[in-house]
């Protein structure tokens, strides 16, 4: 067996793959966060909770309405997106004029409420959700057995990330959003309904989180803590990548997933903390992040 640094090659490939799978979720979630921060200047600490709500909605759609996985992929983000728009109208709209940290505290509070409600109704261990039968096979890759579903998640994530990046950077809608970020008053003067744009953007960012939740539901058991487990790492990804940069968020998300995967092989306890070490270093050396535009 070929060994690299004392670890067998199949294990390294396997961990690399697992790292890319985790990185998919980091990328999807940090992308939504970056979009929301870019336009609304809101640090959405409730993003992880929206991810969790998306997963629970997926389970609920199946359990109560018998809507399967494929239906949930479409319905759950829409439902959670609308919920996000309502939140924006009711709460978040009121604090735009305040110090940015109040936004952090507000969304943190919202996250706690959502997590607490979920824990009350579903218990700390949550519920389980099986992947659709068509994707439940196991593929023998030679160096490891890969559940087919996990492989599909990576492909789906790449498509979603690329799609979103394309819309923001290359289409007219994206240009409008970027313009509204830089100068909302001017854009409004041109007749664009900026508040509506803002609400839709928040809803969109949140819907992205929910979509990630749908993908995650069969993978990690659907439990109330699944969002808060990820949110700190996702924030680290956004900060490292640069808070306004969507491309940066995507690349950093996948990159950190891979770094985490390798750390798991060589120093397993360190995988939980390597993200924060990297974040601390980047913040001290390049405060705007690796790809950031804001100082």
């Amino acid at each position: 067996m070929v060994m690299i640094f004392g670890k067998p090659l199949p294990l390294l490939f396997g961990q690399l793959l697992l790292g890319i799978i985790n990185g998919s979720f980091y990328a999807m979630l940090s992308m939504g966060l970056a979009i929301i921060f870019g336009l609304l200047r809101i640090i959405n600490f409730a993003h992880g909770a929206m991810f969790m709500v998306g997963a629970f909605v997926t389970w609920g759609l199946f359990t109560y309405l018998h809507v399967g996985y494929w239906g949930a992929l479409i319905c759950a983000p829409i439902i959670v997106g609308i919920f996000g728009i309502i939140l924006e109208r009711l709460f978040i709209r009121r604090i735009y004029k305040l110090d940015i940290l109040y936004g952090l505290l507000l969304t943190f509070g919202i996250a706690l409420v959502l997590q607490g409600l979920a824990t009350n109704y579903f218990g700390v261990s949550g519920v389980s959700y099986d992947p659709p039968a068509s994707l439940s096979t196991v593929v023998n890759l030679g160096f490891m057995y890969l559940p087919a579903y996990r492989g599909i998640v990576v492909i789906a994530a790449i498509i979603i990330c690329f799609g979103t990046w394309f819309v923001i950077e290359k289409t007219r809608l994206g240009a409008l959003l970027r313009a509204a970020t830089e100068n909302p008053a001017l854009v409004q003067a041109f007749g664009v309904n900026v508040p509506r744009l803002v609400a839709l953007t928040f809803g969109g960012g949140v819907a992205l989180a929910a979509l990630a939740g749908v993908l995650a539901a069969p993978l990690y058991s659907v439990n109330p803590g699944m969002g808060s487990d990820l949110i700190d790492t996702v924030f680290a990804v956004v900060v490292i990548g640069g808070m306004g940069s969507i491309g940066g968020a995507i690349l950093t998300g996948f990159g950190l997933g891979i770094i985490e995967g390798f750390t798991d092989v060589f120093y397993p306890p360190g995988s939980a903390v390597v993200v924060f070490v990297v974040m601390a270093i980047v913040l001290l050396v390049r405060p705007a992040g690796l790809f950031g535009k804001i100082a």
């Binding site: 700390v124 490891m144 559940p147 996990r150 993978l219």
Partner: protein, 408 residues
């Protein structure tokens, strides 16, 4: 009066008016039993509400009402945190609770043992695994019921090694229970000429994704995957092991601590063939079936497994002891426990057993194999009995435990 003073008085008044504390009935024979368990987390199925139901059943079977007893049962969720559990125990013992029972999660179990010893109150741990409770951490007011890590490591561990599993890779819950179980099972493996080729410790209780550890286990080439964890962690590990083709590649799974409720959670498709050790099975004989039939209405969706049956057995024995000593003596933990050790136990769940000097409840243990999907005819009928181990063989010899209570 400023608002702040008003607030302070209001809180003081509310606190004094709270029910249950400092409110012992002046007349009648009153006792309070506290069930400290996990009601919402990874151990909620093997403890939780079913444990409370079993305690109520014991009070009923004891005939408390007819004998003039007024017994209150309170419950508290330790959330798998030692500080929360210890804080609850301290608060309960300071405010009139006579006996604390259950406590899944060995770290919490040990923390409460400290408090029970300091306050000299009766503590029956029927749900933690750590054999330290009758070893270095034993004390005069604590009894360890049902099972311990020694039983698991020798019975399940021994059986796996004997059937050809010589090389092991462990996935261990990184706290008191997992570490001890892994260490004791490793000793059994080495004594039988086997080898531990690897071990990975994962953070407990927040880990739900075991894929990375399973990958490492697979690449180690070990014959046996040893799971030094319990409850939902075990269920998730085994489910994911199937997803990653571990069993397909020929590796055997040794679930060192598996309960009936876990098998129910996994389903026979996944759980079939698993070998495990429990000291109680509801469908074993007429007595156990009768007990189960009585308690089921109180816990309709969850059959009792060994730890919950231990709550029943322990509570019953406690009440018998207090009956002899008299209620005023119930608040003296060491006295009650001494009495409990003098009397042999007798109940429908475990039969006739004894309690040893070090607080160890001595009962036989049973090696079971999980049935195949076709073999099970009635609900929750999951086990085939492979082997019975006598009480003396099940638990560590008194001399090796290192309990300070035992004169050398």
């Amino acid at each position: 009066m400023t608002r702040r003073a008003t607030l302070g008085t209001a809180i003081a008044a509310t606190a004094a008016a709270l029910p249950g504390f400092r409110a012992r009935a002046a007349t009648g024979k009153s006792l309070t039993i506290g069930v400290c368990s996990d009601f919402s987390g990874v151990y909620s199925d093997i403890g939780g509400k079913t444990s409370v139901a079993c305690v109520h059943q014991a009070i009923e079977d004891f005939g408390a009402a007819a004998k003039g007893y007024n017994i209150t049962v309170i419950q508290g969720d330790h959330q798998n945190k030692p500080d929360v559990g210890a804080g609850l125990a301290r608060q309960w013992f300071d405010n009139g609770v006579d006996m604390l029972i259950d406590v899944p999660n060995s770290a919490v179990g040990l923390a409460i043992a400290n408090v029970a010893a300091a306050k000299n109150k009766t503590y029956i741990n029927s749900n933690s695994a750590t054999s330290l409770l009758t070893g270095k951490r034993c004390n005069a007011s604590t009894i360890h019921w049902t099972y311990d890590t020694y039983m698991l490591s020798h019975s399940t561990g021994g059986a796996m090694v004997a059937s050809g599993g010589k090389t092991w890779f462990f996935i261990t819950a990184n706290y008191a229970f997992g570490q001890l179980l892994r260490d004791q099972t490793s000793a059994v493996i080495k004594a039988a000429g086997g080898k531990v080729v690897g071990d990975v410790d994962y953070p407990f209780p927040q880990t739900t994704d075991f894929s990375s550890f399973l990958l490492q286990a697979q690449s180690s080439g070990a014959q046996v995957l040893g799971l030094a964890n319990a409850g939902k962690d075990t269920v998730n590990s085994i489910k994911q092991a199937h997803q990653f083709g571990i069993t397909q590649s020929g590796m055997k799974i040794a679930g060192l601590l598996i309960y009936l409720n876990d098998v129910h959670g996994m389903g026979l498709d996944i759980a079939q063939g698993l070998v495990l050790t429990e000291s109680f099975y509801w469908n074993m004989n007429d007595h156990t079936r009768a007990f189960t039939k009585r308690v089921l209405p109180k816990t309709p969706n969850n059959y009792p497994s060994m730890a919950q049956a231990g709550c029943y057995s322990g509570t019953l024995h406690f009440l018998k002891a207090v009956d002899i000593l008299g209620v005023p003596a119930a608040s003296n933990g060491a006295a009650v426990v001494a009495q409990m050790k003098k009397m042999p136990t007798s109940d429908d769940a475990f039969g006739q057993c004894t309690i040893r000097e070090d607080g160890r409840f001595m009962c036989p243990s049973y090696l079971f194999r999980v049935k195949k999907p076709g073999e099970s005819s009635i609900p929750w009928d999951y086990y085939d009995l492979l082997h019975t181990t006598s009480a003396e063989q099940t638990f560590a010899p008194l001399a090796t435990e290192g309990c300070p209570l035992v004169k050398a």
